[in-house]
Amino acid sequence: MVDMSTALASMVLPNPVMTASGCAANGHELHRFFPVSELGAFVTKTVMAAPRSGRGTPRMAETASGMLNSIGLQGPGIDAFAEEDLAWLGSVGARALVSIAGTTAEEFADVAERLASSPAYGAVVGVEVNISCPNVANRGLVFACDPVSSERVVRLVRDRLPEGTPIFAKLTPDVTDIASVAAAALRAGADGLTMINTLLGMVIDTDLLRPQLAGVTGGLSGPAIRPVAVRALWQVTAAMREGRLPTAPLIGVGGVRTGRDALELVAAGASAVQVGTATFHDPSRPRRVVDELEAEVARHGFGRFADVVGIAHDRTARP
């Protein structure tokens, strides 16, 4: 028996496997395939202040070992989310890691405040702040591409949430120096970091010779981006180990399909792992990764999951 529990700041979970935001809706749909309470946590679709229609279609294109999406953060708005989806997640015993966003820093804060005052708040084990979303006040530049805006958002959200609620800032890999954005988020009071969000990509329809997505560009996800996730986790963990960044727990996401894939992210430094696009291939994937990851940890002879976190940094061959 392996002890699969994991501690992410004040958030202690029975196992380290989660859904990825936007790849599992808000739970009802996957609950038809497995009880969502069996995951370490359930990460909800990013929710904003008001209902949003999202973009037109086509919203997706399949790519080699991945896909491009341009959903445009479609969602019901925080009030309907809290009343219906969050309450339901609580009723089935799921641990909700709620993903929030805004088009301005103030909107992030407003969403956090309305979430915290909702009667279903008991189901919330943490808040994931999706700063990989465009900032209308800064010509649509993604918050997470700029340390100053990232810091401001996280600070405002921190102010509006109860002290005991852990906050994870979700970072984009589309930056020159991910450690500097990580530093800004942690400085502002984030308890940990989730990485990575999708990479910006584009597909041309070669019959029509025009962009395949109605939104022209989209986010690339799936196994194709796993090496980028591993690299990002590695760089931030290395910076923490070298004392260039305060130590904080990381949630790894990007291209995880199997327990072995999850182990890669864990060995690079992730204390928990999210399964995203692979869910579209197999709706039970997140649940299966729980068992597969446990088998991988056991295969290596460890009794505790926590002992494998970041282990690749200790085992790197020195020249």
Partner: protein
């Protein structure tokens, strides 16, 4: 959302049907739950496939029990990577099946005459719908159309099942030259149909809706939107549909559809191969916004 299962299925028969491939897949549990209009999502390319997304197909037939256990039949038009892979499968090859998915065609409470319109492989789900309607005492006529003879599916079966069949092809290689929309109005008038069911390309569904409306019938159409998951978790398969409250929302065709009342679909949003978000949609982007 109704019952759904995921099963490691097995192909037991595959045969050509004109331009299409007709596959029979043993998939215990799926057939028992399925209703006409629902679909299955099939994984493609095997365990290490680089094509991660499932491919969706209307259920053509569902047999809850047979020699091999429950089976479902699908009709596949091979064009891209996934459908070409499915078309190349041999008997006893494994096929991972998720289904049944989506909402079925609603059946009328009274025994009203019905017209079933299929475009290309869109006729695939209409035959067991016809049987279900006839079981309720409805008179059923079918209109099948396609670009050419080899792209018609199930004409023989239609003649066996329905009380009347009209066939059209764009090139005149079978039936009447022209489109299903050229003949549909007359069929509705002649039969006094109360409901028109449609499955096929979006442009056809739009004209089916318009003609049904003009001839006093309700249209129920099964739409086809690009789907990444088929189970309701990705939000790629949306289209603008007006609800009972008069509000238009971008709704997921895989869980709230694929069957919609035709007059509720915002056909005005579709043009040039894309679907835009109508300005009056709930949460639509404001000018200059997202």
């Amino acid at each position: 959302m109704s019952g759904v299962v995921q099963v490691a299925g097995e192909l037991i028969a595959t045969r050509r049907a004109g331009a299409y491939h007709h596959l029979t897949i043993v998939s215990p549990g799926v057939a028992e739950l399925a209703r006409p209009g629902q679909f299955v999502a099939l994984a493609v390319g095997g365990a290490t496939s680089a094509n991660l997304l499932r491919r969706c197909f209307s259920i053509h037939r569902a047999k809850p029990s047979g020699t091999y256990g429950g089976t479902v039949d699908v009709v596949v038009a091979a064009h891209g990577a996934g459908t070409t892979w499915l078309a190349g499968l041999r008997p006893h090859d494994p096929v991972d099946v998720v289904g049944p998915l989506g909402r079925p065609f609603p059946l009328p409470a009274d025994a009203v005459p019905c017209v079933l319109v299929g475009g290309g492989y869109g006729s695939a789900p209409l035959f067991w719908l016809a049987e279900a309607l006839q079981g309720r005492g409805c008179q059923v006529e079918m209109v099948l159309g396609a670009a050419s003879d080899d792209r018609l599916f199930g004409v023989v079966e239609a003649r066996r099942t329905a009380d009347g069949v009209v066939v059209t092809t764009d090139d005149g290689s079978a039936g009447r030259r022209g489109w299903v929309s050229d003949v549909l109005g007359d069929v509705i008038d002649r039969t006094g149909a109360g409901v028109v069911y449609g499955c096929g390309p979006m442009a056809m569904l739009r004209s089916v809706t318009e003609i049904a409306g003009a001839h006093g019938a309700v249209a129920q159409v099964a739409v086809e939107e690009s789907m990444a998951c088929g189970v309701g978790v990705c939000m790629t398969c949306v289209l603008p549909v007006t609800g009972n409250d008069g509000v238009t929302r971008m709704v997921r065709s895989c869980v709230e559809g694929p069957v919609f009342r035709g007059d509720r679909v915002r056909w005005d949003a579709f043009a040039d191969g894309v679907c835009r978000v109508p300005a009056d949609t709930l949460g639509a982007p404001s000018a200059g916004g997202h």
